[in-house]
Subunit: 142 residues, 2 copies
DNA sequence: CCGAATCCCTTTAGATACTG
DNA sequence: CAGTATCTAAAGGGATTCGG
């Protein structure tokens, strides 16, 4: 079995508090977790529903994401021993509290993606046209 | 040179809108970007200050993160052509708008990490003690 | 059938050394 | 000081298989 530990080798924790925060932040602000939590916002979902609705996620990553969220107490996993098997996922009370902040992040993204797209186009155009002008355009010495 | 493109091969965009959102979400809700933006909240920082204050980040990742944030129009980079070189980073107006939602995410993490730690200990204890009880503990067929 | 585990290859992050 | 180049280690992801 793949072990669930998440300590990266470079994760030296001198200040214990800040390290835990970063550790947790990494988990929540992770590529898939945000999307999983958002989908579970409104209703319980089955594994296959999540897999279908999160476009591009592999079963493997969905499993891992759900396991971590379960371990962190944000998601509850309920197994029904029937055939065909059925496994439901839902947010816990704790999970519901993250939901709000996550939704604000997601909606920020929806609202501002136009501006970001413009900024990117601008940046790309500038660095393509004048690779060295970027330096000259900056203000002179202090 | 390492190319700045970020398209993963599996990133098939059938529904263009949702794909862009996810693309952007990945960038912002990224391991380091959140921390960089939070640090730039209160004041302009130099590269080395960020490198010092974000414990555990490598120069490489800091550079990449800052470049992406700059490209996305969230951070402004100012080069002073002096010796020794000086480069300042600050949030743009757009960057300031993400800040609020990011801070709520970070503060959620600070507030709830105790609960998460408990949930993890619980989960680890249960899966260690009774690897099979997890199944039996769930409710029976429907 | 649904979901977890495994193999294997690709992509990304991190450490280190070096440059303008 | 502020990066870049390069190499290696690790994580991600697809396909397949196993198990209930």
């Amino acid at each position: 079995m793949e072990d669930g530990t998440l300590k990266s080798p470079g994760n030296i924790c001198d200040t214990s508090a800040s390290c835990e925060v970063r550790d947790l932040l990494d988990r929540i602000a992770d590529k898939w977790s945000l999307l999983v939590i958002e989908l579970l916002a409104h209703s319980t979902r089955r594994f296959s529903e999540l897999h279908r609705e999160i476009d591009g996620i592999s079963k493997r990553m969905l499993t891992l994401s759900l396991r971590q969220l379960e371990r962190d107490g944000l998601v509850r996993r309920t197994v029904y021993p029937v055939v065909p098997p059925r496994v439901d996922y839902e947010l816990t009370a704790l999970g519901a509290t993250v939901l709000e902040t996550i939704e604000s992040l997601v909606s920020w993204t929806r609202q501002h993606r136009g501006e970001v797209a413009l900024a990117r186009a601008d940046y790309d155009r500038r660095s393509a046209e004048s690779p060295e002008a970027a330096l000259l355009a900056t203000r002179s010495s202090r």
